[in-house]
């Protein structure tokens, strides 16, 4: 019997999916570790534990004490906030995982850019500036249009395109406010050259330093700014085969440069007819409920694959289902109190829609990008082609009426 330690933040969307995947494996015991104590931790000390997500020494002490009683064989970190603690404890337990250094790099876009630069991985031209320095008070080396970015936030939060110095100055002040609201300890911010073209997301698993690309998602909605909301993901990619090979190759180069070796990765690349640019990677799988868009042979979910790979399985022969599949992340159109969504029944009735999932709760306060970080919900669809899936999703979205007061 093997024991899997799942580090799972209390704010996750993914508890259910990982619990279901672990339940499929009768010879695996699952221990859930979160940054806050479960209400039932004292009744179930073998399965529900609290571990610091902020203090490495404390986290390792907590996990080593637990490991004395219950031997841990594999470690998975779920969502951004758990990736680094997962690397800490995996290293303390000498369990295969992305290294701490590699995960630290992915959690700071500035360090990531510098490491990619040192390894000559194609990426946008960039400049790191102290958060205390407005862009108009520094020697700006990046041409317009450019993109201003925080180092540590995710989900396009705080990412803004600027076409001139006035827009950049305004975006800087917005970014500083967002960093303060998030209590971020970022010391710098990034300005990058804006890359005109399409964008793809790469879902993969590293195993012994080798990248297995599980799928490439096309993002059909143009991401030209001024904000960069995640909207629709479609798979399989309709890019030419040669382009997909180049995308996989660039991703593998970036993983080598960053030292990511064992565990899931979610990367983003921009491209056009002439070139590809590596945008970023997270040492985790796709976020939110989006993993529901992926199904693999033998009716396996992404979480099944991640768990099996963490337990030592060679996941290099994993194949996605044949059908095209897609998801739309429904963004908050405006700030306010979420009251609900009408039209779900009609939208769900559209052929090809597999699920409409509203994840926001009634009376929840919503904030749109660039400061917000909450989706209202998700539309999932399948079809024969990605184009058909996109049409289905667009049609379903038109039926939805989002009520915000």
């Amino acid at each position: 019997m093997q024991r899997l330690l799942l580090l799972i933040p209390t704010t996750t969307y993914r508890a259910k999916a990982f619990v279901a995947a672990a339940d499929n494996l009768s010879n695996v015991k699952l221990t859930m570790a979160s940054e806050e104590a479960s209400a039932l931790a004292s009744l179930c000390p073998e399965y529900l534990i609290e571990i610091s997500f902020k203090d490495r020494t404390l986290a390792c002490e907590q996990i080593l004490a637990y490991h004395e009683n219950y031997r841990i064989d594999a470690v998975i970190g779920v969502d951004d906030t758990a990736t680094l603690p997962a690397a800490w404890v995996a290293e303390a337990l000498n369990i295969k995982h992305h290294t701490v250094n590699a995960v630290v790099t992915t959690r700071n876009k500035g360090i990531m850019r510098q490491k990619l630069c040192a390894a000559a991985v194609a990426q946008p031209q960039f400049q790191l500036i102290k958060v205390t320095t407005p862009p108009n008070e520094t020697n700006l080396t990046i041409p317009f249009p450019c993109v201003i970015k925080p180092l540590s936030l995710s989900a396009s939060k705080g990412v803004m395109r600027c076409n001139n110095i006035n827009e950049l100055r305004e975006a800087y002040h917005t970014l500083i406010q967002i960093l303060q609201q998030c209590k971020s300890d970022d010391t710098d911010y990034l300005i990058e050259a804006y890359v005109d073209g399409w964008e793809v997301a790469i879902e993969g698993i590293m195993h012994n330093g080798k990248l297995n690309v599980l799928t490439i998602f096309d993002k059909p909605n143009p991401l030209k700014g001024p904000l960069f909301p995640e909207t629709i993901y479609l798979t399989p990619s309709e890019l030419p085969t040669q382009r997909q090979i180049e995308i996989k190759s660039l991703t593998a180069d970036a993983m080598r440069a960053l030292g990511l070796t064992d565990g899931p990765i979610h990367a983003e690349i921009r491209g056009n007819d002439s070139a590809l640019w590596f945008i970023e990677v997270a040492a985790r799988s796709i976020g939110g409920y989006c993993s529901k868009v992926l199904h693999f042979e033998h009716n396996r979910s992404l979480e099944d694959i991640i768990i099996q790979c963490a337990l030592g399985d060679d996941c290099h022969a994993v194949t996605r289902e044949k059908a095209a599949s897609g998801v739309m992340m429904i963004q908050a159109p405006k700030a306010g109190l979420f009251k609900g969504v009408d039209g779900i029944e009609a939208a769900t009735a559209i052929s090809g829609v597999t699920e409409i999932l509203i994840s926001a709760h009634p009376e929840q306060r919503l904030t749109p990008l660039p400061a917000g970080s909450l989706y209202i919900g998700f539309i999932f669809a399948k079809g024969e082609t990605p184009k058909q899936v996109q049409n289905t999703i667009d049609m379903a979205f038109k039926h939805l009426v989002i009520n915000i007061e």
Binding site: Q2, I8, P9, T10, T11, T12, Y13, A15, K16, V19, D23, N24, L25, S26, N27, V28, L30, M32, S34, E36, S38, A39, L40, S42, L43, C44, Y47, L48, D79, D80, S154, A155, K157, G287, G288, H298, Q308, L311, G312, D313, I358, S359, H361, P362, E363, Q364, S373, L374, Y375
Partner: protein, 205 residues
Amino acid sequence: MDPMDIKIQAEPTSGHDEECKFTIDRPIYPNGAVFFGNPSMAAGSPLAEVLFGDEDLNLATLLVAEDKIVVNLVQRPGIDWRTEAKKIATHIREQICSGEAAISPNIKEALPPSEEIKTAVQTILEEEINPAVASHGGFITLLGVEGNNVFIQLGGGCQGCGMANVTLKYGIEKVIRERVPAVGEILDSTDHASGRNPFYQQSKK
């Protein structure tokens, strides 16, 4: 019935050479689940008897639930599931074609009455679980017991909480199963989408 009309999918468990799950295209133990931890428990259940009785297989444990069978063989080097799965699938097909119940009805009959299970579960909820989840503004309601299946609902801070599933599967279920082994499925009837004040709000990533 042509035995080959019965579709069976065998899925060896990765990382566990001795284990394989079989999914059958029809129920083999309708509305029931039973775990055979050793051959003596198989007496009276024809499918379990034949699988434990096959000396070539050398079965360690067997789980039969609805349309699924999970077989664990005694650990030995070089288990080849291409061969072993065929033997097991043949036993399963023969059992289904016989028309005989695969699992002894006595197993279900030996279960305590629903009312007894209900009382035991209610006591656990009131004395152990609800006082604990109350610290998160939550509560668990026992909706009822059908056979040995327990229906519960999560309310208050538990409704829509990002960790509700963890609390259910790795807290509530573990405690109930440990205290009341006769319990079958534990089913959550909560509408989590309507939770107005979940204890742990979900964030985007």
